[in-house]
Structure formats: C-alpha cells, structure tokens
Symmetry: C2
Subunit: 149 residues, 2 copies
C-alpha cells in the first residue's frame, strides 16, 4: 500500500527533511516557506487554521510560546500515495522532545503521525495540508490490526 | 481559503452524509464501501492502517468493541480544497456521542476534526485518506488565531 515512484518518495523525503531542518533551527521563515498560500493545517489539539497567513501566525506564536529549542526527530516516512496530478499524501512519524504546554503542563517526549498533502511546484513539493495526530501510548495495545502494533 | 466549485462541495457533502448515515446505522458494509482499496487511515489516537483490508478490519473491530449505537453528528464541512485531478481535501467537524473506550474509561461527548482526501470515481467521491483529530477542549483558549477560537 506504499507503492509509489521512487522519485516521488525522494521528493517527499526532501520536503520532510527541509521541514525538520527548519523546525530544529527555529527558522520560521524557512518553515513557513514550505506552505502553499492556500494551506490548511489541523494541529495536534484540533485547531484548524485556514491559509498561510493563519498557519504562519500560529506557528510563530507557538514557537515563541513553547517550541523554540524543542527538536522534532523524523522516525519514518510510513507511506506515500500519489494522486493523479503528481500530488502526494504522506504519513510521517516523528518524535518530539518534551515541551511545556501553554497550560503549564510539561508534555513528555511524544510520537506524532503527521498527514501531509504535498503539491509539486517549481521549488519541489510544498505543503497544502497538514493534520498532526498524537500517538497516544496507552491506546496502542488496543490496535485491532496486530501487524501495526 | 474555502473557495471551490459548488459541484465539488456538493460531492463532498454527499460523501460526508453517506459516511454519517452508514456510521449511525452501524452499517459497516456501507461505511467500508466508501474507502478506496489503497486508503490510509490515521485514527484519533494515532493508529495508522494501510489499505482497505486493515481499515475495514479496524473499523469492524472498534464497532464491535465500542462504537455500535454511538452516533456521530456532522457539525460543519469547514473547508474543501480542490486538487488538479479533481480530488478534494476536506476538513469536517463532527460531534461524537459519549462512548466507552477499550481501557474502560468513558469518553464524554467530544468534537473531532477529520481531514479527508477524496478521489472521484464512477460512484462519486471515495475516501483515499482519513486523519481524525480530537479537538481538545482545554487547549482551544490558547489558539493564537483569535478568529478561529
């Protein structure tokens, strides 16, 4: 189910590495340059931002508030599915360092699965949609598909 | 940022209504007929299922375990973005009735934001990707984009 042209996988890998390089350098200019103008983003607690201005405002605010110096580590590009116009749907598993939430509670190191819809541009793939889901550790033993545990 | 042809919005609406009708009737045959063969699904606690066989196995198991008789209510199709091949990326906000989690804890009524990537077929749109995120109530006051609060 993860069959795709190897060049598409390479392009997804390049985008994901650019994302992590920008994130881990606290470089919001580079990070936000990866979004299309009409990007939508649903973050890990379900906030939905519409368009690059909102997605950028939110990311800059959350870096100022809690993400500066907090690294994200790429674990695996779990799947890449190609759409008819050369777009890709990817699921990326990443590990976030611990960070202090806005409510004052420290979230320990955690794993996320991020869905990205990526579109080809003259500068490589860009992010048209992101939806980032926390992999809740306590829930995983109840996965009904044993091979995915 | 939600500009799209009205016929695409109508097609998304039809798919989303079929999804809810099937869900609320506990009709797993109808629900799973909405998935493409190569669907990927990331559920609300971060489980990632690859392909229709796994997605169907997981949904059937979770209906047996906890979702039978638990209704999902469509609140709003918040955005529909068209891709070049006629595919759509939609964000759907829905409200789930309370249900008993596998760990024995009752999850109270909750709101989710579900990202769907939908592809055109001879039978209307079908689901090629789903990523479902819980809208954590306690986190929403910290949304840095005031208009989205």
């Amino acid at each position: 189910m993860t069959e795709q042209p190897s060049d598409l996988h390479a392009a997804v890998s390049a985008l994901v590495r650019s994302y992590h390089a920008a994130w881990n350098a606290d470089d919001l200019d580079a990070l936000c340059a990866l979004f299309t103008d009409d990007v939508h983003w649903v973050n890990i607690v379900g906030m939905h931002w519409h368009g690059r201005a909102e997605v950028e405002q939110a990311h800059r605010a959350f870096f100022d508030l809690m993400f500066k110096g907090v690294s994200s580590h790429l674990e695996e590009i779990e799947s890449v599915v190609q759409l008819s116009g050369g777009e890709a749907i990817a699921v990326v598993r990443l590990r976030m360092d611990a960070f202090l939430q806005p409510d004052g509670i420290m979230k320990p190191e955690s794993v996320d699965r991020m869905t990205l819809v990526l579109v080809p541009t003259g500068n490589g793939l860009r992010i048209k949609h992101g939806a980032n889901i926390w992999v809740v550790p306590e829930a995983q033993p109840f996965n009904p598909v044993p091979s995915r545990n």
